[in-house]
């Protein structure tokens, strides 16, 4: 039942898992941020990622801008989308029962998926010649350069988020709103603006992740479903509302995915991931670093 790989393959696996995990973390970070702010899970999060990837793809195809340089564009476009979604939809369901909140974004997700297919066909798209591609050797072990760059960017993004939340006034206001909405508003913080900002940042994160993902993963209308599911598990494992939690959880999930596949069987990769989630969450229901 267990398969023991050679040392090289094992180390290669650990490295790949770590790199992928950083990307999972970035995708999950936004989800966590929104939940911390307003206790809403964005079930269209995967579709936001998909739109980020498509943005990068179209920048490449229409304007010959490599995904690497589309990062700010994707971030901006998705920021705008998040802002719009909050203003148009989320604002109206803040007090609604949880079911309505779930399905408001869920319906949005279905809509976005279908719109993508309608506009751009279900064909799989690929950035044919990205700047970052191919293998790179680290200590003699071969790993993918795109994954390396993506994870580096992800870590940078987390660092930026950390700086933003702890060192800037807006960021601290955001954090304060997340911790105690009423107290924050009593202190004069405009919670509505914080919410909108939160949605913007969350979507921008996922847009950036999408730009990097487009360098090495195929783009099609349903691509968001795969990554979205992992993102929910990542957020739950890290703890809803905890951004550092998403980083740790993302890396754990990335490692489990690869190691589960290497040591047990790739068919059960996600079984391993979900089992870990269940175990952690049953022993420690608020996740690793969650507040509830």
């Amino acid at each position: 039942m267990f398969n023991i790989p050679s040392t090289e393959v094992l180390i290669q696996g650990i490295m790949s898992g770590f790199l992928m995990g950083c990307l999972y973390a970035l995708i999950a970070a936004g989800l966590s941020l929104i939940f911390g702010l307003m206790e809403i899970v964005n079930f269209a999060h995967g579709e936001f990622l998909m739109l980020g990837m498509y943005t990068a793809f179209w920048m490449y195809t229409l304007f010959a801008i490599d995904p690497l340089f589309s990062v700010p564009i994707c971030g901006a476009v998705l920021f705008l989308l998040g802002w719009l979604v909050h203003k148009g939809i989320i604002r109206r369901i803040l007090g609604a029962p949880m079911l309505a909140q779930i399905f408001a974004t869920f319906g949005l997700g279905i809509f976005l998926r279908a719109a993508a297919q309608f506009l751009w066909t279900p064909d799989f798209r690929q950035v044919a010649h990205p700047l970052v591609q191919g293998p790179i050797k680290i200590f003699g072990i071969s790993v993918g350069l795109p994954q390396l760059v993506a994870s580096g960017a992800s870590l940078a993004a987390f660092a930026f988020l950390y700086w933003f939340i702890t060192k800037t006034e807006t960021g601290m206001a955001l954090e304060a709103t997340a911790q105690d909405r009423q107290a924050a508003s009593l202190m004069g913080i405009n919670t509505e603006r914080m919410f909108t900002l939160g949605w913007g940042i969350s979507s921008a994160c996922v847009g950036v992740a999408g730009a990097f993902l487009a360098s090495f993963f195929y783009v099609f209308p349903y691509v968001g479903s795969l990554f979205g599911l992992i993102a929910y598990v990542t957020v739950a494992l890290g703890g809803f509302g905890s951004i550092p939690g998403s980083l740790v959880a993302g890396i754990i999930i990335g490692l489990i995915e690869v190691l589960g596949g290497l040591l047990i069987a790739p068919a059960f990769k996600y079984v391993a991931v979900f089992l870990v989630y269940l175990i952690v969450v049953l022993i420690r229901p608020q996740g690793l670093f969650g507040k509830f």
Binding site: M98, I102, G107, A114, F268
Partner: protein, 334 residues
């Protein structure tokens, strides 16, 4: 109230009672329509839609018991559907057990499964619970794909027998299937209605509204959540067996997928979650809509049907969270 308002009061009372009469008449027509549906609609395709409405209405109603009345949002309910379908089918193909007994078997398996899932998971709150149900659903889906005994990815084909109620198979026309699923749906409906009016329903609603308060008042919330879960799972499993006998073929992708779990929730939400009629209304509207758009637009490959579906879902969730039933109630003046 002042005496000057009494004329208006009487007028309002008359309006209300006339609305109620209309309501009863419509209800009566509906019941007659549902009962006689196969008589008027003879084409297999129309009956298929009717059957689908009832089947998904059953699943949505069953889900409603747990989520709508008890407030526990499961996004992995398809596991019970698949459990029912596979149990009765495997019992049939491997051991020659009659599908009706298999149906009972499926219900039992699903209930046990639901307790195994619920017991640890009900400790989790809100979104944690929902995601746990997704996780479990995916785990079971993957296990089913890799389990050769039940057919694995290739699925299970049921042997074809001659038309008979005993063998739970009909080939010529669909009306027997229609009445069977109508019966199952009616049973679930009745169960929901009884629960709504019983002490169990009262406890479930208390748990939904504020489980901490309920607990402090002495209600054993774990026990009642499990009861709701088991009842819900049982009905879904019955639907699963029906599906298996209807299609005579199943594979993990058709009975365990996340998309089915989500569909069940959607129907209930659009119709009106936590209400008696909501799930059926949701199914009656969404299923034909889905079929219609698929036929009109789907063939050209442009996903227009899903576009409408998604938009509708969001709009209902945002503007009419109590669903269509809530809309009707408003019109009815309650």
């Amino acid at each position: 109230m002042a005496t000057t308002g009494s004329a208006e009061e009487m007028k309002r009372e008359r309006e209300r009672s006339s609305r109620r009469t209309i309501g009863f008449v419509l209800m009566g027509l509906l019941i007659v329509g549902v009962l006689l549906f196969p008589v008027f609609f003879r084409l297999p395709y129309h009956r298929d839609i009717g059957i689908k409405i009832l089947l998904y209405g059953l699943l949505a109603q069953a889900w409603n018991i747990l989520a709508g009345y008890c407030g526990q949002i499961s996004l992995g309910h398809a596991v019970f559907f698949g459990a029912g379908a596979y149990t009765s089918s495997v019992l049939q193909t491997a051991f020659g057990v009659n599908p009706w007994l298999g149906l009972l078997g499926g219900v039992v398996v699903a209930m046990v499964l639901s307790l195994l899932i619920g017991y640890p998971c009900f400790r989790l709150r809100g979104h944690y619970f929902a995601i746990a149900t997704i996780a479990i659903g995916e785990i079971i889906n993957t296990l089913a794909i890799n389990w050769e005994f039940i057919g694995g990815a290739r699925g299970l084909t049921l042997p074809i027998h001659k038309d008979s109620l005993l063998a739970f198979q009909f080939h010529g026309s669909k009306y027997a299937y229609y009445y069977i699923i109508l019966g199952l749906m009616a049973l679930c409906f009745y169960a929901t209605w009884r629960i709504e009016r019983s002490r169990l329903g009262y406890y479930l609603r208390a748990i939904r509204e504020d489980s901490d308060a309920a607990q402090s008042v002495g209600i054993p919330i774990a026990k009642y959540k499990l009861i709701a879960m088991a009842i819900s799972a049982g009905f879904v499993a019955a639907g699963g067996t029906f599906y298996a006998q209807y299609l005579l073929y199943m594979d993990p992708d058709s009975v365990f997928p996340l998309s089915l779990s989500i569909l069940i929730c959607c129907l209930a939400v659009v119709g009106g979650v936590g209400t008696l009629w909501g799930p059926l209304v949701g199914a009656a509207i969404m299923i034909p809509l889905s079929e219609f758009t698929r036929i009109q637009f789907g063939g050209t490959g442009s996903a227009v049907d899903l576009l409408i579906y998604g938009a509708l879902l969001t709009i209902v969730a945002v503007f009419q969270p109590t669903g269509l039933v809530g809309l009707f109630r408003r019109w009815g003046g309650r």
